[in-house]
Amino acid sequence: MRLFKKTNIDFMGNRKIFYTISVVTLIIGLAGIFGKGMTFGIDFLGGTELLLRFDNPPAISDVRTAIDKIGYKGSEIKSFGNPNDILIFTSEQAEGGKVAEQIRSELQKEFPSSKFSVLREDKIGPKIGAELRRNAIYAVGATMLIIMIYVGFRFKFIYGLAGVIAIFHDVIATLGVIVLLNGLSPHLSLEINQTIMAAFLTLIGFSINDTVIVFDRIRENLKIHKADSLFDIMNRSVNETLSRTVITSGTVILVLIVLILFGGEVNRGFAFTFFIGTILGTYSSIYVASALVLDFTMRQEKKVK
């Protein structure tokens, strides 16, 4: 079975169109990030979070009234996954687990007819929250740096740089998408927490993986077809790897759809973020990374002349 016959698409000739698409995506992404604002989860904010499973759940608004009464105004209360599970988040976090204790006893008092069990209870102190935020930024920075060095070392510096720019493109665009989609469905929680963070780091790895495979083909073709222009070689390489790119990304996307549907509430945010990232990453390895290398190299050649 074959999805692709030998293709001969002029990818590089159309790169201006794709630059435009990328810039527009980035602008939308940035608008989402700064316009709507990122919603951080408890990991990065610090606070107290309870996930409770009720026998017969009270109305969310009643829970809110009860929690407002004990002084945790502005708490975030929503159903999580299925209607019996209610998630309560407050940025308050007294010493020990006092806040959670208070909330639990208040709910018991307020809704004696609906028993609940604690599915999850987290309390994160402000120092830990700040630390996790810092570590997240370090992690993204360190990954990009290592990738740039490794790819620069295995290919040429310009390839490393272009690869990292492509990653940056993927991260910003994906972040924009999940910021915009967050809160639209109760079944899809896309708050920025540690799991989503992990998704971003994996997507960085995957995006560069795709890019490296295209670069690898370019490196090989440069050796074989010495007379051809870089423009032609790039087109040929992208076409040659197209079938592999689509099949691999397709399989990963299939697996991710499975994770989204059956992986449970905890893995859903991860899988969804990675899903968006894989689509963007596949696109960027063809149109952003390779095209950038082409433009950088052509400019340099002009200078030399």
């Binding site: 604690v118 540690q194 992990a198 560069i208 499975v258």
Partner: protein, 629 residues
């Protein structure tokens, strides 16, 4: 065949090794299944019969993370600053000021406390010898000693916490030190948060303190009352809630004081309105002396903080005798109209004896009063001291103070020899048992603060296991089917490699005592994607080579040869991002990074070496055509 003999040998032996590491997990699973079918006597006998085997297999099996089996994770930081504050001598206002500065800085900084400490002292040009060590010692020497002491305190705190956890009876707890002064405790299967917090955080500072003479106590309290009334006392810090709170015990006051006032005539005029009373007797209105004159006073739960605030005021401190300190009872004495009332005790500041002499503790139910108690045994030195102290203070009251709360204050009836004592005042036997553990394990050298506390209930764990297995199975089925359809024979070979890859990940986890978490399962699912990618790369190349009408053998060689650099580079980059994730992530994220790294590494072996050996053997056996779809 000969050419591949070496490779085949390596493949078979790694496979055997993987099975060896996975065997305990399989056995532990079987034992559990077997146990769940048996009940009562039968199951107990089964456990005894297979005790060693069960224990061994449990120790070597793949452990489930807290997110899968439920439990608690607590990150604590040893408050070394508090300890430094405690061991300082000649503490004055300047010292207190410095300490607040240091505490503020330490709150956000990750720097070594001693470094911050040194900088703060240097900035103010204060010699450390003023508060620590002897005058002749120079700063460096003192700093070095303080550093030693803080290091020791963290180690000791960890040891004590381990002791407590062991005695509490958690199976497979994990207690780790992170950085300079952080301790991470993971308790699988535990969900009683309040108990765990008490277990981990209770400093268990046990002190035996003599109660001051009731006459002196009441005179002092009256003096404080008069002083405050004279100043037109008003608790400016909480003037708003003063009105709210005083409204509640309106009748209580008259009920309490109308009977008799032998101890003090200060609150005689019960007919006055509460507002008037509060104005006339600002202190005694909050802390009402006991009518029997036993030296205690009642304070409502709402006023506890306020009373302590008053007593801590520097101007009030001047009125108090220098060796008098105030403590509340651990438990409320009575409830009036829904408001709990606590006893206020005035004790001698310096303890007669501390918990360091306690060598054993035992929680029981006191037969005569049917209440939970903890009996303590002291060491020889402690017993001698205890006999001397009790002998010299007959008919006085000795308060037993634990973590700054008075648990009981019995009257000393006679000299106590043999070093026995008991603590009363626990709410139930569980609390008594917790206290027993804490007393036995010893007191923490410094208080610990809980920085992070996460707990997962068992039902969420079950949900997660179900979700994890389901997604894992579906992902595997989809991938396997796709490979079979798209690459035919090649796909089947790749699928074998894929199964071995997953087997290897589990085996590596088992071999290194790793933990399987939900994100870890996600990591494996992703590895499946990566593994497929490697084979897709190779097969696409082989197809290209076959299209140029190369012989099968040559096409396979060229395909593997040309795909190798791409696979290596892409796997190495993914591996690096795994390393970074592991380095900067915590708990769950690390689990993900771990399986991803293992999977990517195993992938290089399974997708490149194993599949190739299979093809080469097929070619050697005479296949001239292998279907790559």
């Amino acid at each position: 065949m000969k050419k591949n003999r070496g490779k085949l040998f390596i493949i078979v032996s790694t496979f055997a090794l993987a099975l060896y590491f996975l065997y305990p997990t399989y056995r532990a699973y079987n034992f559990e299944k077997e146990l769940s079918t048996r009940v009562g006597q039968d199951s107990a006998k089964y456990v005894v019969d297979n005790e060693i085997a069960i224990r061994e297999s449990k120790a070597k099996r793949i452990k489930l993370g807290l997110d899968l089996q439920g439990g608690m994770r607590v990150v604590m930081e040893v408050n070394v600053l508090k300890m430094l504050e405690q061991i300082a001598k000649n503490k004055d206002d300047q010292f207190a000021l410095l300490m607040t500065d240091i505490a503020r800085e330490a709150q956000t900084s990750d720097e070594n406390i001693i470094t911050i400490f040194q900088r703060a002292f240097d900035a103010k040009q204060i010699r450390l010898s003023r508060y620590y060590g002897s005058l002749r010692e120079d700063n460096d020497k003192i700093l070095k000693r303080l550093q030693d002491e803080t290091d020791k305190a963290v180690d000791r705190a960890m040891e004590i916490i381990r002791n407590r956890v062991d005695q509490y009876g958690v199976s497979e707890p994990s207690i780790q030190k992170q950085g300079g002064r952080r301790i991470i405790v993971e308790l699988p299967g535990v969900s009683k948060e309040d108990e765990v917090r008490q277990l981990l955080q209770g400093t268990a500072l046990l002190e035996f303190k003599l109660m001051k003479d009731p006459d002196i106590i009441y005179k002092t309290m009256e003096a404080v009352d008069k002083y405050l009334a004279g100043k037109g006392y008003n608790d400016s810090t909480s003037s708003a809630d003063t009105t709210k709170k005083t409204a509640a015990p309106k009748n209580t006051l008259s009920a309490l004081t109308s009977k008799s006032d032998t101890a003090s005539n200060a609150v005689a005029d019960a007919q006055k309105s509460p507002e008037q009373q509060a104005k006339d007797h600002p202190f005694l209105f909050l802390a009402r002396p006991n009518q029997q004159g036993n030296g205690e006073a009642y304070v409502s739960e709402n006023d506890k903080d306020k009373v302590m605030r008053i007593l801590a005021r520097p101007d009030v401190q001047k009125i108090l005798p220098s060796d008098m300190a105030f403590y509340f009872s651990s438990k409320h004495l009575f409830i009036n109209e829904g408001v709990k009332y606590f006893s206020l005790y005035a004790l001698k500041k310096t303890p007669e004896l501390t918990g360091t002499v306690v060598i054993n503790a035992q929680a029981t139910i006191d037969q005569s009063f049917n209440q939970p108690i903890v009996t303590m045994e002291m060491n020889n030195e402690g017993s001698r001291e205890w006999a001397r102290i009790t002998g010299a203070n007959i008919n006085k009251r000795m308060a037993i103070v634990l973590d700054d709360a008075v648990f009981s204050a019995p009257n000393i009836r006679g000299k106590i020899t043999g070093g026995r004592s008991q603590i009363e005042g626990m709410a139930n036997i569980e609390e008594a048992r917790l206290l027993e553990i804490i007393l036995k394990a010893g007191a923490l050298p410094a208080p610990v603060d809980i920085m992070e506390q996460r707990s997962v209930g068992p039902s969420l764990g079950e949900d997660s296991i179900l979700a994890g297995t389901k997604s894992f199975t579906y992902a595997l089925i989809i991938t396997v089917l796709f490979m079979m359809i798209y690459y035919r024979t090649g796909g089947a070979v790749a699928n074998i490699a894929l199964f071995i890859n997953v087997l290897f990940i589990f085996a590596i986890l088992a071999a290194f005592g790793g933990t399987m978490t939900l994100p870890g399962i996600a990591g494996i699912v992703l590895t499946i994607g990566m593994a497929v990618d490697a084979n897709v790369l190779i097969y696409e190349r082989i197809r290209e080579e076959l299209a140029t009408h190369k012989a099968l053998r040559a096409a396979i060689d060229a395909g593997y040869g040309k795909a190798f650099s791409a696979i290596l580079d892409s796997n190495v980059t993914t591996f690096f991002s795994g390393v970074v994730l592991y380095q900067f992530g915590t708990g769950p994220v690390q689990g993900f990074a771990l399986t991803l790294m293992m999977g990517v590494t195993a992938n290089l072996f399974t997708a490149i070496v194993i599949t190739r050996v299979v093809f080469e053997i097929m070619v050697e056996r005479g296949s001239t055509e292998i279907n790559f779809g």
